[in-house]
Every structure is written in structure tokens, then in C-alpha cells.
Subunit: 349 residues, 4 copies
Amino acid sequence: MSKPKSQIAVGILGATGSVGQKFIQLLENHPWFEITEVVASERSAGKKYAEAANWFMPGKIPENISNLIVKKLDAKLESRILFSGLDASVAGEAEENYARAGHIVVSNSKNHRFDDDVPLLIPEVNADHLQLLKSQKYTGKIITNPNCSTIGLAMALKPLLDSFGLEQMNVVTMQAISGAGMPGLPSVTILENVIPHIGGEEAKIESEPLKILGGLENGWVKNLDLAISAQCNRVPVIDGHTESVQVKLKKNATREELINAWNSFVGEPQKLELPFAPRQPLHYFEQADYPQPRLHRNLEKGMAVSIGNVRECNLFDYKFTVLSHNTIRGAAGGAILNAELMVAKGMVG
Amino acid sequence: MSKPKSQIAVGILGATGSVGQKFIQLLENHPWFEITEVVASERSAGKKYAEAANWFMPGKIPENISNLIVKKLDAKLESRILFSGLDASVAGEAEENYARAGHIVVSNSKNHRFDDDVPLLIPEVNADHLQLLKSQKYTGKIITNPNCSTIGLAMALKPLLDSFGLEQMNVVTMQAISGAGMPGLPSVTILENVIPHIGGEEAKIESEPLKILGGLENGWVKNLDLAISAQCNRVPVIDGHTESVQVKLKKNATREELINAWNSFVGEPQKLELPFAPRQPLHYFEQADYPQPRLHRNLEKGMAVSIGNVRECNLFDYKFTVLSHNTIRGAAGGAILNAELMVAKGMVG
Amino acid sequence: MSKPKSQIAVGILGATGSVGQKFIQLLENHPWFEITEVVASERSAGKKYAEAANWFMPGKIPENISNLIVKKLDAKLESRILFSGLDASVAGEAEENYARAGHIVVSNSKNHRFDDDVPLLIPEVNADHLQLLKSQKYTGKIITNPNCSTIGLAMALKPLLDSFGLEQMNVVTMQAISGAGMPGLPSVTILENVIPHIGGEEAKIESEPLKILGGLENGWVKNLDLAISAQCNRVPVIDGHTESVQVKLKKNATREELINAWNSFVGEPQKLELPFAPRQPLHYFEQADYPQPRLHRNLEKGMAVSIGNVRECNLFDYKFTVLSHNTIRGAAGGAILNAELMVAKGMVG
Amino acid sequence: MSKPKSQIAVGILGATGSVGQKFIQLLENHPWFEITEVVASERSAGKKYAEAANWFMPGKIPENISNLIVKKLDAKLESRILFSGLDASVAGEAEENYARAGHIVVSNSKNHRFDDDVPLLIPEVNADHLQLLKSQKYTGKIITNPNCSTIGLAMALKPLLDSFGLEQMNVVTMQAISGAGMPGLPSVTILENVIPHIGGEEAKIESEPLKILGGLENGWVKNLDLAISAQCNRVPVIDGHTESVQVKLKKNATREELINAWNSFVGEPQKLELPFAPRQPLHYFEQADYPQPRLHRNLEKGMAVSIGNVRECNLFDYKFTVLSHNTIRGAAGGAILNAELMVAKGMVG
């Protein structure tokens, strides 16, 4: 593995938004990356970050960030890597422009996830998809991470796919409110309530795993052939998406074989010992009422996925619960791991 | 319909518990029933109800109940009808004893739900199952209502079964904490959390609808042949169970045909204009993020079931959301409607 | 008392906002008032109400309102009474214009509360302040109700003032999120949290009671001489403001005398038997952990104030808890009672 | 400062309870202390800790603890220091017995807080009270920490007392549910609610600061002469007690002087650089709506106290908000800091 010889300068696109704030929080004291540029909309540009941002992360703004002057979205930047937490309404063009200008854009936005030459990356699952970058036309590069509710799910499915094959997957989500960004849902809407609809979310869950779990053929991703149905609900939880999952496998497998497949699963980040890699990506819990968002979302600093309560199903083969931290593993933390993978693979010059 | 000529004296078994308190709250000012006896455990017996009960319903204890002296569970009673909110650990024998002694026991407990000669009753769905009472051996009678998470579901399924046939049904529940009774879950367990397990609940949902939706053959219920899978979660909602449901039908049906089947559904309680009957048992909402527990659980005084967001499904035919009030329609209110049906049918002498 | 001979036509200003929706919900089936006009901003004008409003009250839009065409804020109106839930940014001028045009404006907004000739009215407390209307210059009239956190407090103080005199009053509020309107606070801000600040709220609580509790001298209000200190907090409660109150009295009084003063308190609305009048405006609870917002906010349809836990204080004379429903008694319901008082007093021609 | 040459063996009394679990969680990887004994009631004794405890802390049981065999409360122990999270019903005698047997008992229980010869210790505030131990009759020692709602408050008051003197202090608390232990409040009691009463809590807040802030005279504590009034409320927050505080000072002081007194405050733990010492014990926030429990309870690993919104008061001199983590700074973490202080002072042989 290549470790960087010195700190790599990184910039945050959409630095005042909720994903941007999470990037700043998570990158404090990162061993490889140092935030030197923060970028936001015209309204914030020119101000000190501490004045421009309505900081709502726990704790204080890291001191070295407070006084950075916010740059405008189309400004010329100097950072090698740009983490993008831009809103989808502006991310498409802005990310392309920065990639053309030679930056490595590590995006959390949905805009380029399905571009044929852009990896939709979960390092434990499809590190080999980085090969797509060879086809990319940009001087720099764009890589993306999946939707917050897809990441944990795809990680839980990967060892099942590898060991037993997948025929059908059904999922009902109970998603945390932080996934809606800021301001997100009004408090009177969600307190002591469930909202049985999240716009556009079901389509993402029904499509993204097909690319992520797809194999490479001639340098391009061939989507997995898998029937997926998703129903999405919002629940009054701050962080952590809980998912009730059902799978139909291609081969017979015992409950113990599933559990073993999860607990023994490791991927590239574990082998490379990347800074943000969880030691064990998937944790199976034997206690029937585990995992729970408040107890397990922060497992391995929010980068591990928790699974529990696997049991036989009358309609599919098995049903179980999957939990992952939506703003760490499912967003900013996942993007940081993506960048680390590129660095370790020597793809960040 | 027979309306009673005078108020019918009713007693509440388990009157200090959460279901018992709900019975008392709902029966205040009931046009047919008057609570004249409250029954609880030895610990409470002999005290005034206001002193024995740790009242936690909104509002005050109805005045005529406050001063009733609590009777012991095995006491001889005089009420014609006994509403039972007894804990399952004692309900089995106690309810039988009172039925043998000539009382009509209208039970919310699980103990007798699967007795061959006991109706598992939802008046809109299977009023004809009252015929089972002809086979009952008791001087009085026992009738039961289903589990709180089954009732709304079975009501939503009934018109689909009648119009299109049912092949498969899959459900993931997000259940309110009041369903766990009192004290139920510790607050630090469920606040800002999801608990992906409710002991014994999935088995109830996978079995009860088969009896409820079954037809009568030679005076006995023949269970419906239907494959059901259920996953149960507890969410931080006070009242109202939300369910993400999927169905595979026997006949083709359009989305509009489903909605029409729901909106036009009526049953015996509506024809008989029973006091607790909702005017319209099933309400379909066109707004994609409806129904929601806090907004719709009290629809038609908590006795109607709300449905929304029906859409095509990649794995089944349709998926949709069902919501019903778990302690009103799903427990005490459902039991009261059961009793009203018996009265209206002339089965309460 | 004059009861109206026929329904009085009323309009709702700011009909699509949170206070406006509450007016519509509460006025359904009102015996005296019938909503015939709904008024909102230019964006909504011309649309049917059901299309213009993002309805978020429990239950459905009353049928007779759904199809009303929303009128623009400066439109000429025909209703005798206008209930105003306008935002403070526009309420000042709009309410004056409508009063000049001959309407009786019953406002929930803060803009005119301290006008010398405008009553800041709580019918149980200062019905005599309606005399200020004689001095009003408008063809119609403007009356206002106090801030949501002032109303319950002022009602609880009134009998103490009358019986024992007040020297000092200290209050710390724990206010519900519905008081912030819609969208109000983002859900990630308040869920599982306390916000120890509500902009402008403390100043209202420290000033409004002085006018409300002031006497009339020569036709004008002479403010009460009372030192008040307030601290305001927002808590994750949907409805119902809870307040920890301390008072120093002018005369000695026993705990029982305070309780008796509260429980025996009645005002004009009770004597006049106004439709929205609670039978008993102040309810004292003996249980030490009462009142609680979820259990008691809806007491007497949300129009009564609950008090509890009165005990001696090391710094003041007594401390106790006050609770009232902030959007019913503290806003729309309070305004409706104000209008009813005017009708009953023959002041609505 | 004496640092221990090797790990000090410590035991946890009441190890399966909520405070006990917190001790175990916080002591994982402690540089000085190593848990070698876990002690609980007869029911748990003899089992492995992982089987005896219903673990409800976030994350997993530390591996070295899982397999420890739980000892019975009256068992002979070998640990030098015993951290006690015992219930008050048994703590009194058990702690004395262990102190007599030569152990240093560092207690979180209330039983011995007011013993004349037992320090009620907050190391930043009254480290000198350790002198009381000279008078203790035990072979070992007992030291205690204050109630969870007292600790943050006393820390915030200390620099004001030192710089300006204190005449009166008034406080209204909004306390987290974790303070009630496990199971604590039923979830249907507190969700979307406020409980305006916590049994015995007000008396603790009105008395404990007098001892903590008192000076030493001839080797004994002379209580501070200060009038305190407290009102306690429970709110739906997991961790973190928020307090609305008012003070009357003996000397004039500007707002800036108060803020400066807080921000510059340091005590013995900071000078000694104890492992659990926050770098800065008191943090003043300029943002008016800070501090908030969810954002600031974990400041400096939950050991710092946050203060905000100081403003002039109509009845006292100043009012402000204090926040501290009730189960870390206010319980287990505070006790650990107490033990560290004793070690650093060379009082643990």
C-alpha cells in the first residue's frame, strides 16, 4: 500500500451544508488529509467559515477550519482531492468542471452515480470498479458513493451473493432524520410519528445495488441480475438507518452459514488497513432485539454495519435486520474511505 | 337490529392495567353499556378504583368509576358482559370460569383466539364467525379480538381477498410503544431508537389472519390458505401501528381497483350502525406520505383504518401502507365493537 | 347574553399557516361562526384551499373548507369577523386595513398587543378591557390575545393577584414545538434535545402580563406593577407549554388557600356559558408529577389550564407547575373565545 | 503528582446496573485502573458478567469484562479501589463494610454524602475536602460524588462564588431520562412529554452545594450560607441535564466578568493533568441557543460543563443555562476523576 508521504490537501464542496459539516467533523486529525479549502454558495463566499456556517454538529468547529475563508463554488481551487457534499441541483456540473480542471472529486451526490465511467464505490464490495477510471475523460477523476440506505444493505448482501447467490431481495427501511439534511423535516412532522414515504429513495435502493454488486466485463460494469423491492419510511431517530431485509438465495444455506459469511467478511480496506476502515465491516449480533440504531450506529466509529435476527422466512429464504450509520458509513465516512482507497492504490499522484 | 332497551351492565377484567384503563376511557358515556364492576388482582381488590389504579390515560378518571370498589379476579360478578384486558398469564382460566358462570366474556387476550369454538372476530370482516358460538360449551360465551397489529391488516386485506384473491402477503410493522402495555419498554430503550424485535408478535401476524379470513364450513372455520411473512419493529410512537405491506393477488387488478375496493368497503357494523362503528372502515389517502400515525390514528375516533401509497412492486403485485390505532381499533375499541355486534344480533339476552 | 340569531360569517387571515389551520380545525361545527372566506398570500390566492394548503392537522380538511377559493391578503372581504393568524411581518398593516374597512379583527399576532386602545384579552381575566374599544379609531375593531406562553400563566396568576397580591413572579418555560409554527424547528435540532432560547419570547412574558393584569383607570389600562423574570426553553413536545413558576405574594397564604383560589376561579366565559369556555378554567392536580403536557393539554378541549405541585419555596413564597395547550388555549382557541365574548356582549352587530 | 507505577486493580459494586455499566464502559483502556472484580446481587453472582448483565450501553461489553465471574455483594474482594454504583437501598452498609475491610470506596450513591467525615467531592471545586479523610474511622476510605444535577451546577457556581460572592441561587432543571437508571421511566410516560417532578431531587440540589462549596475550618467543612431553590423536571432527552439558573451576587459584576470567570476556571485535575480531567472544565458559548444536551453533553468526553446565554435578570442579577452530562461528569466519570485525584495525591497506597 502507498501511504502518502505528506498530508494531502483536500477541499470540501458544499462545506456549510450537513454533509459538508460532517466531512469537516470526520476529517479533523485525519492522518492523510488536511482540509485547506472550504467551498460554498455565493451567499457564504468571502466569509470566515465560522461565520458562514450554521454549525450543528456536536462539539465545536475544529479550530483550523473556523478561520478559513469560504470560496465560491466556481472558484479555482488548489486541493488535490475535493470531497463533495453539494446539493444535487448543482453537483452535476460543478463536479464535472472540477474533474476537468484536474481535481479528484470524491462525491456523495447522486448526479454521476450511474455514469458508465464513474465507480459507484464501496471499497469492501467493489474496489475493482476503480478500473472504470481508466475510461474517464476528465483530467482529474470523479468517484461516487451510494445512497445512505444502499451502502449498509449492499455490504450485507455482498458475502451472501458471493457464497450463495441472490435471486430476490426485499427491504423495508426505517430511516433516520439526519438523512434528510438540514433543515430537512420540520420537527412537528416527525416527532412521535412515522412518515411512510421518502421521495426518490425507493428507486435508488432498487437500482444502485445492481451496479455496485455487478461484475466487470471488458472494463465496464455489468449490472447484477436481481429483483429488488424497497419501501422507505422515516422514523424519529437522529442517526442510523434500520432495514428489515428478506432474501431468496440461489443455493441452500443454513442460518449459521449466513452468520459466518457476515462475520468473516473482509475487503480491500481491511487488507490495506486504511485509516477509516472498520476492523470488521459486518458484525452479526445474536441478541434477538439487536441491532438498534442508538446502540450500534457508532460501532467502529460508525463505519461498521450491524446485522441481527436472521431467521427463516415463509416467503423468501431468510429475513434479518441491517443497521448502518447513514451520515458516516452512508455518506461522509464512506466518501473518505473511497478517497483513502485511491490513495492507497497509488491513484492520487 | 336490536338495540338494548336499557343500559347493559358490564364489568372490566384487568381494570387497572393499560387495556383495562382504555376500556374505561372508551366506555365513558357509551349509549348501551354501563360499567358497574371493575376487577383486578388481589393487590388492588377492596380499594376504590382511583386508589388502586395508577391512571395514565389523558384526562381524569370518569367520575362514576373513581369510587367503584375493585373486586378480586375470582369474585362472583353480576355484569352481563365482561370485557377482559387480563394478562395472558391469567386470562385463560379466568375467562373460562366466567363464561361457565354465564357471562359473555369479550376478550382482548390471546389465550382463546385459536379455540375452535371461539370467534376471532373483526365485525367488518367475519361477523358470520359468531356462528361458532353455537358450538361453545359455556353457559355464557367467549369471543376474542385479534392482536393489535393483525386487526388493521386483516381489514385492509379483506376487500382485496373478496375482489381479487390473495396468494402471498408480506408485512413489516413499525409498532407503537403503547402496544407493550405498562410499564412496557423502558424509556432509555426506545427514545430515538428502533427495536427490531417484538417477542411472539410475528407468529401472531402470520397465523391470525388465516382464521379471521377463513370461511365457514359445516359450522367451523376453515383457515385461509395464504403464505404470510411478518417482521416486527418497535418505534418511538405513542399510539398507532404503521405497516409496510406487500400482496400478490390471484387476479389482475389495477391500482384504481384496489383503492376503490378499500374506499367502498363496508361491513355489518356499518349496516347495523353500531355505536363504535366507523362510518367508513377503510380510508385511502392519495397523498404519498400518508397515512401517518400522529395524523391519522384517531380517524373516526380511532376505529377506522388508514391506507396509502399503493404502488406496483417488483416482487409482489402491490405494496402499500396500513395504519390503525393499536389500543382503540386494535384492542379495547375493537372488543367494544365485538360486544355491540352481539347485542345487535340479539345474542345478549 | 346575546346569542347570535344566525351563523356569523367569519374569515381566516393567514389561512394556510399553522395558526390558520388550527382556526379551521377548531371552528368546524362551531355553533355561532361559519367560515366563509379564507385569505392567504399571493402564492395561494385563486387556488382551492385544499390545493393551497399543506394541511398538517390531524384528520382531514373539513369538507366545506376544501373547496373555498383562497383570497389574496388585500382583497375586499365580506365576513363580519376576521380571525388573524397572520405572520407578524404582515399582520400590522393588514389588520389595521381590515379594521378600518369595518371588520372585527380578532388577532393572534403580536403587532397590536401593546396599542393603548387594543385589548390584550383573556376573557376569564380581563373581560373589562373590552372597554378600550370605545377609544378605537377604526370603523371595525381589533382585539388581540397574548403570546401562547403568557396565557396559561396569566390565568394561573389572576386568582393569586386578586386574593393575595403579587410582588414577584419568576418563570422557566418548557415550550412545545408547535409554538414555532410550520416549518418551525428542523427535526434534527429538537429531537432528543432542549433548546435553551426562544427569540423574543422572554420579553413577551415579562411584559404582557403587566397589561393583562392591569386595572382600568379612566378608560385606559394601568399596567400592573410586578417584577417578572422569564427563561424560555424549547423541548421535544408537540403541544402544551409546561412552566415552572415561582411567586412572592403580598399577603400570607397557605398552600390550601392557593389551591382553593385556583379551583374556584371562574370568569365571564363561564358565567356567559360561551361555546369555547372551559367549565372550570383552572384545574389543580394533587398528584405530585402532574400536570404533564401529553396527559393534560387537552383538558376541557384544550381550553383549561392545569396547575400542580404547589410547594413552599426558599426564595419566593411558592413554586408550582402550570400547563396549557399552546395552540388551542394559547392561540386559536383563545382567539375564538375572545370573539365569542364580543358576540355575547352584543359588540358584534 | 504521583502516577501509579502499575495498573491499580479496581472493582465495580453494582456492576450490572446502569451506573455500573457506565463505569465499565468508561474504564475500558483507562491508563491507571484495571477492572478485575465485578460485584452484584445474589441473582447475578456466579455467572459470567456477559450473562448476568442486560448490557444496554452503546457498543459491546469490553472483552476482558465479559468473562469475569460476578461476585456477591458481601464477598471478600481484593481490589484496592471499589467504584460503587450500588442502589441506595443497599449502598449504606455495604460501602461501610468494604471501607472497614480496607478498600477505598469511591461511591456514586447518596448514602454517605452528608457524613461529616466523608468528602462530597468535585475535584475542580473542593479538592481540599480530601482532608476530611484524616478523620475517617475506616481502615480504607469512603469518598462520594454529588447528585448528577448538582455537579454541573456547583462547578458553574464555583468561580462566581470565588470572584463575586453568592447570595441567592435559583434553578429549574430539565433532566435526562438516563438519570433515572434502568428501567427508569416507562417509555409511554416520557415520550413527547415533560414530567414536572423527580422524587427527592430538589432537596439534593438545595443541600449538596452548601457542603461542596463550603470552606474547611479546623479540618471540618463549614457549609456555605446560600439560599437555594430548585424545581426539577424530566424531559425526553437521553443524556445531559439542562438547567436554567439565576444568581444574585454579593459584588457587582459585568456579564463579561462572569464569562471570563468561567472560561478561565481551572482546578486541581487540570493542574495535575489527571486522565479524566477536561482540559477546560467550563466552556462558555456565545451563541444564544447554546448549550444543548445533544450537541454539547459529550464535550471533552463528557467531563466538561457547558454554559451559555448569560443575561441580566429582573429579579436576580444574572440568569444563564448550564449543561452537563449526567452519567459521565454527573456520575461514573465524576467518580473516576475523584479516584484519580486520590491516586495523584498519593492517597492510594
